[in-house]
């Protein structure tokens, strides 16, 4: 059992806008690219050119169909990665202390030197956000790009997670949820951001901004014909329409 901190100074995380995500997978490969050469072991790929290629990804995007009671079916694109929970079950289950939550910013990390690859944390995580790297034999997960966000070798504007920097639609927002005036806190307040599976009481830091209601007709009143063209003929219409130009 590993202890969770009772308090973190910051609660860094992501607000992910499901109204804006087109499911393009840009965040998936930007994450793969950065973390393949970043924190800890590389993200290996097994059988990359054969049947069932499978590699380690810290972030994946799924698409779900939703059929509302009324109206057309919809598709929701859903990015999934570690939510950096306040009550992270992956941490408390870890037998070696390898999984831990940082007190300074709340990021949940794996100390790969201490990880024995037992997989208990992946089993405990209800979000499927951890993947055991088959080549390195250690558990991999989203680090919130801890090696980017404080990195003094990067320009200030690049000190954000790779997935946020690359997102073409700007659907991913990074910030401090402990600060009510942060960009992410404001977005959550404005847009009704919510926790994923709140009944599990994991208290995720990351929030999802829900899709706006779709397929609702606008208020614009239907266009009224200028006059009955059948009755007055084209000449009447022309006079009427051009009269407006005056």
């Amino acid at each position: 059992m590993t202890q969770l901190p009772t308090h973190t100074d910051k609660k860094l995380g992501l607000a992910i806008d499901l109204d804006t995500c087109v499911g393009c997978q840009a965040c998936v490969t930007a994450c793969k690219g950065w973390n393949d050469q970043g924190y800890g072991a590389a993200l290996s790929d097994q059988n990359p050119y054969g049947a069932d290629p499978s590699g380690t990804f810290l972030n994946r995007v799924h698409s779900y169909q939703v059929q509302p009671d009324i109206g057309a079916a919809q598709i929701i694109n859903f990015p999934r990665s570690c939510l950096h929970c306040e009550d992270a079950p992956c941490v408390t289950v870890c037998p070696t202390g390898a999984s831990y939550k940082r007190t300074e910013d709340g990021i949940v990390l794996v100390n790969e030197d201490a990880c024995i690859g037992c997989g208990l944390c992946a089993w405990a995580c209800p979000y499927g956000a951890r993947e055991l790297d088959q080549a390195a034999g250690v558990m991999k997960k989203c680090t919130l790009c801890v090696d980017r966000i404080y990195n003094e070798n990067l320009p200030e504007e690049d000190r954000e997670p790779a997935c946020v920097r690359t997102c073409p639609t700007g659907a991913r927002h990074f910030g401090d949820f402990a600060d009510p005036d942060s960009n992410v806190s404001k977005l959550v307040a404005e847009r009704g951001g919510y926790d994923l599976m709140p009944d599990l009481k994991t208290k995720p830091t990351n929030k999802y901004l829900p899709p706006r209601k779709k397929d609702i007709p606008q208020e614009a009143s239907l266009l009224a014909p200028l006059l009955d063209i059948q009755a007055t003929g084209f000449a009447g219409w022309l006079d009427k329409v051009l009269g407006k130009l005056g």
């Binding site: 901190p5 087109v22 990804f57 079916a73 070798n153 504007e157 920097r165 779709k214 614009a220 009143s221």
Partner: protein, 928 residues
């Protein structure tokens, strides 16, 4: 807590090199990080005008491309039968000498016997220049099977189109409507634009049979029946006209709506009426008398009738006010209820006219009239292959532009904005050139915009001058050629036989051809003497694609990170509405194998062939390589491939002498250059003198080119007149009726060709392909990361058909068309037009290609719809078979496909199941 100390500031890389992405056609700027000389990470370039730092799934996966096992290693010469994959490695000198030994005799006797077609080429101003120097008329790139309807429909109507030509005013638009955008062109810019709209709560509407990707986040979705977008648009026009919700001031000032249509019976009927100076004119409301179309202070009368000739406006209004276009009359065919069509029209009108915006920026138009502000109608549109890949796509594209015009949105704040060098009217484009002579260059550039029958590429005997029959009566405005007809025509010897087929980056033996099975046969077919019907095939590609096995000589290209390239304003630039832009690629890493950039190879071939623009008087090479050409080629005085850092001191923009340090300056500047449009010139560009003068200064025109939008298309009417029997150049009789229908000078809708027959013969279901955002364009499909995201494709089946056929997960369907059948895995999808099935394009691969394992899902369960699509329409009792293309432009009508679906239960692989291609590179094992 004993948290370990971690290094949160690791060194990122040794060096960052900024170049241009090529994982698709967007041309985003990328920062390529290198560690110990190897590519370690790729991210978007924040300064770059196209992507402003973001990058898509493909872009970040480019690191897997530069090490892909499918990369070709050295030049190859075929030693076994064609298609057997038996090759021997040869040196570059041997390869080039062999190519020259085939090409030189052709140039000296019959240059047209070399057909040079490039696929996803981004150097068309260069490859076209080479082909022109060689002297063959047979050159084009892939636009004919991609989206020429979009490009040509726009050019003939407003002098620009979507994507590279122009885009929505993302910062100001309040309502954005996209038609038929299949997650591809353009990729990151549309996503960025959608993100901006979403961030400020602007409304997005998707018109598409399929609700994935961009359409999935649309606030409202119109799941239209494929091929009926034009009908829907004309019905929207009907509603707007009926209610008088049209921008009359805009129409009167900036379009040909007030010009008069000649009503005199005879050879000029329907042409724009001209005065004694051959100039069109308007009736001035102030005087009721004729006045110059471009006269200062003139107030054109849209309702004028002069000596029996009526305005374009009246012709237009009369047509679309017809009850034929009422929502109730089109609803069933479009698959959209009439009330929904009326609601959409109301929304468009509400935003355009009740929510207009204004920028306080005075400006002066070409008539000399000044305006205190810029009035904007914040409705914008985007459309792509979903509407253009139909046989009515040209007219549908025109209809969409007409809708934009009538709402007064084009080039106004919040609407659609041109990107330099556009706007460019038809008159500012070249006409096609096709006259050949042994040993001589072609008479001019191959591709262009036809103004009338006299510009068709026909020989004196009336037969087509080009192998693809571009610019003929069958498809007069084929501005991008017809690459999809190249191999079938060469095989049939119709209109003539060729000798050498020279292809670049075009997977014609697989996903880039209609009727793929047949095309593979055509490539290997022999005549009675045992000789190949297409005698010689030269192919250049960087990867072991399916096409490689069908070539006689392989010229291996580099990957995009190992080469020079030029994204030129002479070609397909990377401009933004507020700035012209161009860019380069440069070798950020050197090739580790015996390959050469194709453009440099072309220059080498040119020297060996003695092509004049490529050699010095003493016969030596004028350009060392493509990089040298990029810097030193002069297209016309002061104008070269790049607009930035021109002149000996590198301080000139647009025009100036060649600068030997130009590429170094581009690299220093992040790989690109921008020339900014002056503030006063940023809207109303076709008519704004500040813009026009800047465009001349920056080299896009030689003189200002103000023009009126063509609601009524005179070039089209000229073809109708010919089909009606007027004029000395006459079409064949069997094409008259089709020309009269297709070349209507006002946008019109007709059912896609073959639709009625297909439906009558029992093919009730529409079948489409889309390109996945994470993998569009086939060269990404073997990428180690991307194939983990999408290694399989299914036939997505709507609920109605799913239930009727009793499909279950794991089932396969037999999918049949008049052209054949395939057996493929199915998946259920509810967010889909109820009469439409679809799949992802180009996931299916042939076994043995792309260095994939024989057990790869792409080569077993993956499939193409291409087998179901014939390049020819069915014979209709007149003995004629027409190409499966738009009758105006020749655009491949991929999306006219109609099929029948039957459940055949669970299977373990798709059919047709071709024999594996022998490998030209070893199967990929582990990641490099």
């Amino acid at each position: 807590m004993n948290a370990p100390v971690i290094n949160t500031s690791p060194a990122v890389s040794d060096e960052v090199r900024k170049t241009t992405c090529y994982m698709c056609a967007c041309r985003c700027g990328i920062n390529v990080h290198l560690k110990s000389g190897k590519v370690s990470y790729i991210e978007g370039n924040r300064d770059h005008p196209v992507n402003k730092g973001v990058l898509c799934a493909k872009g970040a996966s480019g690191i897997m491309q530069v090490t892909a096992p499918s990369r070709l290693q050295q030049p190859l010469r075929r030693v076994g039968p064609r298609g057997s994959g038996a090759f021997e490695p040869i040196s570059w000198d041997e390869a080039l000498d062999l190519a020259v030994s085939w090409m030189k005799p052709l140039r000296e006797t019959a240059p047209e016997k070399l057909a040079f077609f490039t696929g996803r080429d981004q150097s068309q101003s260069f490859t076209g220049w080479w082909a022109q120097a060689f002297g063959t008329p047979n050159y084009a790139a892939h636009g004919g099977f991609c989206s020429v309807n979009m490009a040509a429909g726009g050019i003939y109507t407003i002098g620009g189109a979507f994507w590279e030509f122009g885009q929505p005013d993302w910062d100001r638009t309040k309502l954005f409507v996209m038609f038929g955008v299949a997650e591809d062109h353009d990729s990151n810019p549309i996503k960025m634009g959608l993100g901006k709209l979403k961030a400020r709560g602007a409304r997005v509407i998707g018109v598409n049979p399929i609700r994935t990707g961009y359409n999935a986040i649309a606030d409202d979705w119109y799941g239209i029946t494929p091929g009926t977008d034009g009908l829907l648009i004309l019905s929207l026009l009907h509603c707007l006209l009926q209610a008088g919700k049209v921008d009359l001031d805009y129409l009167a000032r900036w379009t040909n709506a007030p010009l008069l249509v000649n009503a005199t019976e005879g050879p000029e009927k329907g042409l724009i009426l001209k005065n004694a100076e051959s100039q069109p004119f308007v009736i001035d409301k102030r005087t009721g008398a004729p006045a110059p179309w471009d006269g200062k202070g003139v107030q054109p009368d849209l309702g004028a009738t002069w000596q029996g000739h009526r305005t374009v406006f009246q012709h237009m209004a009369e047509r679309y006010l017809s009850p034929d276009y009422a929502p109730e009359a089109v609803a069933t065919r479009c698959g959209i209820p009439a009330a929904r069509i009326r609601a959409l029209a109301a929304e468009l009108a509400d935003v355009a006219f009740n929510q207009a915006i204004e920028i306080k920026q005075p400006w002066t138009d070409f008539r000399g009239d000044t305006h205190d502000t810029m009035l904007g109608r914040p409705v914008s549109f985007h459309a792509m292959r979903g509407i253009s890949a139909h046989s009515n796509g040209f007219q549908t594209a025109r209809a969409l532009h007409l809708l934009q015009i009538v709402l007064g949105t084009v080039e106004t704040p919040g609407g659609y904005r041109f990107k330099p060098p556009y706007p460019k009217p038809v008159e500012a484009h070249p006409t096609p050139h096709f006259v050949t002579a042994p040993g001589k260059p072609l008479s001019g550039p191959h591709l262009g915009y036809v103004r009338g029958p006299e510009q068709l590429a026909l020989k004196d005997d009336g037969t087509p001058a080009r192998i693809d029959k571009a610019f003929t009566w069958e498809n007069p405005f084929s501005a991008h050629g017809l690459m999809h007809m190249l191999i079938p025509n060469a095989h049939a010897g119709d209109p003539y036989r060729i000798d050498t087929l020279f292809l670049y980056m075009a997977n014609m033996a697989w996903n880039s051809s209609m009727n793929t099975t047949k095309v593979m046969e055509m490539l290997t077919d022999k005549d009675a003497d045992g000789a190949y019907i297409i005698p010689r095939i030269i192919y250049s590609d960087a990867y072991a694609s399916e096409m490689v096995a069908y070539a006689d000589l392989i010229l291996p290209d580099t990957t995009y990170l190992e080469r020079h390239d030029c994204i030129s304003l002479l070609d397909r630039p990377i401009s933004e509405p507020d700035a012209a832009g161009d860019s380069i690629r440069w070798p950020v890493t050197e090739p580790d194998r015996d390959v050469r950039g194709f453009q440099s190879v072309l220059l080498d071939l040119g020297v060996r062939l003695g092509l004049a623009p490529m050699v010095n008087p003493d016969g030596s090479a004028k350009f060392k390589d493509y990089a040298d050409y990029i810097q030193n080629h002069i297209r016309r005085p002061g104008v070269g491939p790049l607009i930035g850092f021109r002149g000996a001191d590198g301080d000139q923009e647009g025009r100036g002498d060649a600068n030997p340090a130009q590429i170094a300056a581009y690299i220093e500047n992040g790989g690109f250059y921008q020339a900014h449009v002056p503030q006063e010139g940023r809207f109303f560009k076709p008519w704004n003198m500040e813009y026009q003068n800047w465009a001349v200064q920056t080299s896009f025109y030689e003189s200002p080119q103000p023009y009126l939008f063509n609601i009524w298309s005179e070039p089209m009417r000229k073809f109708q007149l010919a089909a009606e029997g007027h004029g000395p150049i006459q079409p064949p009789d069997h094409l008259r009726a089709r020309l009269i229908q297709a070349m209507d000078p006002l946008p019109v809708w007709y059912p896609p060709f073959g639709d009625q027959e297909a439906s009558g013969w029992g093919y009730p279901v529409h079948a489409l392909t889309q390109r996945p955002m994470d993998m569009y364009h086939s060269w990404g499909s073997q990428n180690a990361w991307l194939r983990q995201i999408r290694g399989r494709n299914f036939l997505y089946v709507p609920t109605k058909i799913w239930e009727a056929e009793g499909f279950k997960d794991g089932d396969y369907a037999r999918v049949s068309s008049p052209n054949g059948g395939i057996t493929v895995p199915v998946a259920h999808m509810a967010a889909l037009n109820e009469n439409t099935v679809w799949t992802w394009n180009a996931i299916g691969k042939r076994k043995g290609a792309w260095a994939l394992g024989d057990d790869a899902p792409e080569a077993n369960q993956g499939f193409l719809l291409n087998h179901l699509i014939s390049e020819l329409l069915p014979e209709k009792g007149d003995g004629m078979r027409y190409s499966n293309s738009d009758p105006v432009t020749g655009q491949a009508a991929w999306f006219d496909l109609r099929v029948r679906i039957e459940n055949v239960g669970p299977k373990d692989h798709a059919t047709p199941d071709f024999a594996p291609l022998p490998r030209v590179v070893p199967q990929g094992k582990d990641r490099a």
